[in-house]
Amino acid sequence: MILRIFLSLVFVVAGFLKLRDPLAFADGISSFQLIPGWLVNPLAMSVPLFEIFTGMGFLARSTRGAAALAACGLSTGFVVFHLSALVRGIDVSCACFGKWELLSLPVWLGSLRAILLLVACVWACRVSPDSPTPSLKMVEESSPHAD
């Protein structure tokens, strides 16, 4: 419950802040030098809204599982972007919270933050009753050897 509210807040706030300044987010995406120029602005326009949808999805029971799945996808993308910058030694400005990013994190710390977010999202996937991945307990209960 607490984890879902936390993730909901993170995604809604991050999406809202990016939405207010898409240009700063576009500069952030471009600084990773990972995707072609024609894809940067369409991503800068749509990812913030997708984050808001994801965050709001955690609040309704019927969309909780889909939200957890989307959050896993988004945070996997963040991890890939950060780790690739770390490996290539590129100094990036992720603009993860738009230009209101409170801390200008070094790349390794940004990568760590993205990994922690991914771990939280995977955890939310596992604990959600509507999760696409059944929990260990559910698997055991449905197994013919359980009894």
């Binding site: 471009s30 024609w38 602005n41 326009m45 749509s46 809204l49 889909a66 989307a70 696409p132 991945t133």
Partner: protein, 164 residues
């Protein structure tokens, strides 16, 4: 498995909705993003020079020429770095004119008459801001604008006077 497929479908619908609404919202913005991304340097050049405009190339000065000009005291030195770096140390009698300020007249320092010699510098050989600011000043009507490409790093390393 069925649940995973259903939830993947919901995610896909959400992604498509975000894409569609993102484009729609962008088109309603006062300053919409163009479809193709342009880096900050390109945007500044376009704003200063206009669409398809041409920008004059400022001349370059090396360290002995800059030192001589500074000793003569006639040229005005323009520091194109951000205010934080300017506050940490700059060439004495410089004014701070970061490239972001160039486009906001309210933040421009008091600039001299257009005929005065201006020498623009930034961090060093690798920074592009001195050239961008010099080009902006040329477009604003200043006649004698040069770039000191060695910049702050060379000036400080030479043991020349600095001001904080």
């Amino acid at each position: 498995m069925l649940r995973l497929a259903r939830e993947s479908g919901v995610v896909l619908v959400g992604a498509l909705a975000a894409l569609g609404l993102g484009f729609l919202g962008n088109s309603l913005r006062k300053h919409p993003l163009p479809m193709t991304y342009e880096n900050p340097q390109k945007r500044l050049v376009k704003l200063v020079a206009g669409e398809g405009g041409e920008i004059a190339e400022p001349g370059g000065l090396d360290f002995p020429e800059v030192q001589e000009a500074w000793k003569a005291g006639e040229a005005l030195f323009v520091d194109a770095r951000t205010a934080d770096f300017f506050a940490e140390g700059h060439i004495p009698r410089s004014v701070n004119l970061p490239r972001a300020s160039l486009l906001q007249k309210g933040r421009l320092p008091t600039l001299p008459e257009k005929s005065r010699t201006l020498i623009v510098y930034c961090s060093g050989e690798d920074c592009a801001d001195s050239k961008l600011v010099a080009q902006g000043l040329l477009l604003m009507g200043f006649k004698n604008v040069s770039v000191y490409s060695g910049g702050w790093e060379e000036w400080e390393a030479s043991g020349s006077p600095v001001e904080k």
